[in-house]
Symmetry: C2
Subunit: 135 residues, 2 copies
């Protein structure tokens, strides 16, 4: 099945790998452990446009990602969001939030510009996440 | 089964009714058609803390709410969010977004203070939504 990642998502992230339904991407912002799930289906904008089987897969993969972030980073709270007001391709943000992070207690979206990972730190984080997901 | 709505959620919303899993609340902000789903389970903060059956019910009810908002209001985009950085009780925002709304294309959370519905308009909106959900 064909799947095309929106170029804006490609530019802003590093590839972790593919789960059964979703591509897992690391947002290139060193201030927050921030993963984006993109269902590998073309031409979708909303969760409810997924088939019944894909809805269930998305819920399961979202919970798996949430539990993994919880286990690795022990955040104070997880934030999950489907916005897509700017990038229309359906994608689901998963962000580990801390009371000490710059945007707390507000949302990270629209707060301020991303602070890219230094490249060595990004490589380590990608490797850590691939290991945690077995990808 | 006991269920206690967080007082902050009670103050900020009007009751639409109960689906099988979730209480449906209308956020008292006339600028956005904005529904909040609260799984009627005590002591949960994160989606992944739900049982497998409840996760599936939440996905189904979330999609039902999204489709209902889409059908009633024909928004440019739906925004769905699980934040809970301030109100710890697990709750899921569903917001019909328009390119003409005050926060577009940013998130509504943290943008500005709510503008409460005039009471007659709120009554009409509650009745409209109860009708749409058969509640």
């Amino acid at each position: 099945m064909s799947f095309h990642l929106h170029p804006r998502l490609a530019v802003d992230t590093s590839l972790i790998g593919d789960l059964e339904l979703c591509r897992v991407l690391l947002m290139n912002d060193a201030r927050y452990p921030w993963l984006i799930l993109v269902p590998r289906r073309d031409d979708l904008r909303e969760v409810h446009e997924l088939s019944g089987a894909d809805r269930l897969a998305l819920m399961n993969e979202s919970c798996h990602v949430a539990e993994t972030l919880q286990g690795l980073f022990m955040p104070d709270k997880l934030n999950i969001g489907v916005l897509g007001n700017i990038v229309p391709q359906l994608h689901v943000h998963h962000i580990a939030r801390f009371q000490t992070d710059p945007a707390w207690p507000g949302p990270v979206w629209g707060h301020s510009s991303a602070q890219p990972y230094p490249s060595e730190m990004r490589d380590r984080r990608v490797a850590q996440l691939r290991g945690a997901f077995g990808l």
